[in-house]
Subunit: 442 residues, 2 copies
């Protein structure tokens, strides 16, 4: 079969910003390689942008409009690529495209995490596909790896560095010994963090991606509302330095783990042993570590954002869609890896019931008996200490930092101990608690 | 569609050794998860082993035979899984299965590297698929990642640790400061190396896998004969120690790289900067680093061998085949990523014309003028030195080691310089040359 065996496939594009520009560029530059792989040409024939005057994308040969609906309703187009971001009008346009009998490819993690259940149901009803590889970890083909490449496994857990901005900030804090606000300002100046960085640094973006990873790993519906989310804004350079001294790195992880009572879904700063590959994923790079019962641990690493890495994932999805154009819809890879009516109602475990080890940092008055009080409280709560490090205070200081590593304990019990410790006269600031994962046992 | 929407798919298995046992175990243990994903049950109904008395696999419910042909000719079976290894009778059985109208899944890298062109042509003619994910890097879904996940990219190079035995040996040599023969014996005792370890330590197994990776990355036919192959048996613990001192690790890499004149295909020990993730892939683990023009660098890491990691890849391939049972054959993912008639005749670059940096270790008499001779020869060949390290000799020794890092130079020129250096009176042993790759530029 020659590359010209099938007529060209016509694609409609919604959004001509950074990623939209990347997609038009990659499709044009690699047109030869892509048609040699896909067996036909893939051409963007119709594109919409909110403001055509400001777009810098190469739109040669495309019909252009500021009305997204015109593209969605264009009868010539068989695939809609949604790169607008946000919930609305993206949701409405995607649903309409599906009803119009068009396949959809999207990079919109917020949309899929919040409205994916509705969108996939609409897609199934219409016999259409929705590709969303670009929604998680940019150019890393992690959706495909989990959904197809590891389809023979019972997956046990997934742990990922899935927000490049947060990873860049933590990397800089460690590398340069600087504090969070300073590094955040630098990241904003470099364009690695948005003017309003809340989604990235408070873990919401990571939670969107974790929601999607957990669904395809375990065959459960998308449940963004149930993700426990903690950001990195309270991490200090002291925490980073203590972690290093103890042989760990602090990473902002999204973790989905099956335990005896259900599925844990959590995003929080995490100490991991520095010998782990995941601990050595630096800067804006992303990586996802997956544990399957047959394969063991696999790691997938690459650029988590940026115009062309995201375009790489979008174009791969377009090619996948193109290949199934003539296939029996029932035989496609299901959107959430498992057949829609074979999803599991495995409950999400409340955070109170999750067990983890952790790191604690306390600010205590430098006087006798403080350590005795702390260790008594921990003992009373049945909590055992793995390591304790009391730093010498500078001569003038009346407060000394105490750092503890705590063995695995249920969250609820740790919360009670922290409350009791914070109630002590000698403790002068909120206790800093950072959870710890070894990642090499289950 | 419920998991029972389609009738069960019947699979015939050739080979009930370690991997065959892994496949039967994984299919049985994860039957629920697998049918929830694939939309139907997958059942091994007929299996062949050379000697049924010695198999320990759980074969409950299967017809068993010592005649592989009976399985291949079984009209009830729609997929043949070939896990026998070796060239024949595997080749003949696979070709016959295809002619019989059965899809094939194989873990046999030697077979695909040597006879893949013939096998894929037969598969295309018969309208059948051949899955070979398990042939490269065990459980890592690297074939799928390159062939589908990165299909929007023009791939520039692939560099992989794709033989676990060699990586284990190099890791132990560095970790324990021991020499090659000692560590090889240990690897044999642990079952990580075969009684005849030639395929692993001399790079033949890695070359099989590299042949396959290069084909799917660049869209060229399989050309095992053209791979430059160098093993690890001449690496000494001194080389490992010097590399470490210079900030590098020695890894046995398979490298496929596009350059201005064609495709480089080479397997050899390689110094890589120790800050690279790939440098930190230790023990029997595998990893493949891929550079695409859109995605940048992506790394895929996991277990490269073993019964269940290999089974993970085999089962994923079976599920892929099952999904396309009703699809239009022209729309499938092409075996070598690119459409069969769109393969490229990009030439393989002769090793003489490849340019690399390298590490040299010389054993020189401890007398004046030696360094002057060496640097003169290098200068005359137009070769520039990046670093030079002359070790102090123990008081009694008359021979001192000299270690050099050489900037990028064409192989031919380096060979000439090495020959001239070895002809010096003062040089008392063959020059050790280990190539060097930075992996972060092009």
């Amino acid at each position: 079969m020659s590359p010209a065996a099938f007529p060209p496939v016509k694609v409609g594009l919604l959004g001509l910003g950074t990623v939209g520009g990347g997609v038009t560029r990659v499709l044009a530059r690699n047109a030869g390689e892509i048609s040699r792989r896909a067996g036909r040409e893939i051409v963007i024939t119709h594109a919409a942008a909110r403001n055509l005057d400001t777009t810098t994308a190469n739109t040669a040969g495309m019909r252009l409009t500021e009305e997204a609906l015109e593209v969605v309703d264009d009868p010539e187009v068989s695939i809609i690529v949604e790169l607008m971001g946000g919930y609305e009008p993206a949701r409405g346009l995607v649903l309409r495209a599906l009803t119009n009998g068009k396949h959809v490819v999207t990079a919109n993690k917020a949309l899929i995490a919040r409205h994916g259940n509705e969108i996939f149901a609409a897609a199934s009803a219409a016999g259409m596909m929705v590709g969303f590889e670009a929604a998680v970890a940019g150019g890393i083909p992690i959706i495909k790896a989990i959904r197809e490449g590891l389809a023979g496994n019972r997956l046990e857990w997934v742990a990922g560095i899935i927000n490049g901005t947060a990873n860049f900030i933590l990397t800089e804090m460690r590398g340069k010994g600087r504090d969070f606000p300073e590094v955040l300002a630098e990241a904003q100046a470099l364009g690695y963090a948005e003017a309003d960085p809340t989604f990235d640094i408070e873990g919401i973006d990571a939670a969107h991606k974790l929601t999607i990873l957990a669904s395809i790993a375990f065959g459960i519906p998308l449940q963004f509302d149930k993700v426990y989310i903690e950001g990195i804004s309270r991490i200090t350079r002291d925490d980073v330095a203590y972690a290093t001294k103890l042989g760990y790195r602090i990473k902002h992880l999204g973790i989905a783990r099956r335990d005896q009572s259900g599925v844990q879904l959590r995003v929080h700063p995490t100490l991991i042993p520095q010998r782990q590959l995941l601990a050595n994923v630096n800067g804006v790079m992303n990586a996802v570590l997956v544990k399957g019962d047959a394969v063991g641990q696999s790691l997938f690493y690459g650029a988590g954002a940026g115009a062309e890495p995201t375009a790489s994932a979008v174009v791969a999805d377009i090619i996948d869609v193109v290949r199934t154009l003539t296939a029996d819809p029932d035989n496609r890879v299901p959107h959430l890896a498992f057949q829609p009516d074979a999803l599991s109602d495995l409950p999400v475990v409340p955070m109170d019931e999750v067990e983890t080890a952790c790191y604690l940092r306390l600010q205590a008055l430098d006087r006798p008996g403080v350590l005795a009080d702390i260790t008594r409280i921990l003992a009373e709560c049945g909590i055992s200490i793995e390591a304790l490090m009391q730093k010498e205070a500078p001569p003038s200081a009346s407060v000394v930092p105490i750092v503890l590593l705590i063995n695995r304990v249920r969250e609820q019990r740790m919360n009670a101990a922290i409350a009791a410790i914070e109630a002590l006269d000698s403790i002068r600031a909120p206790v800093v608690r950072i959870r710890l994962e070894y990642l090499d046992s289950d």
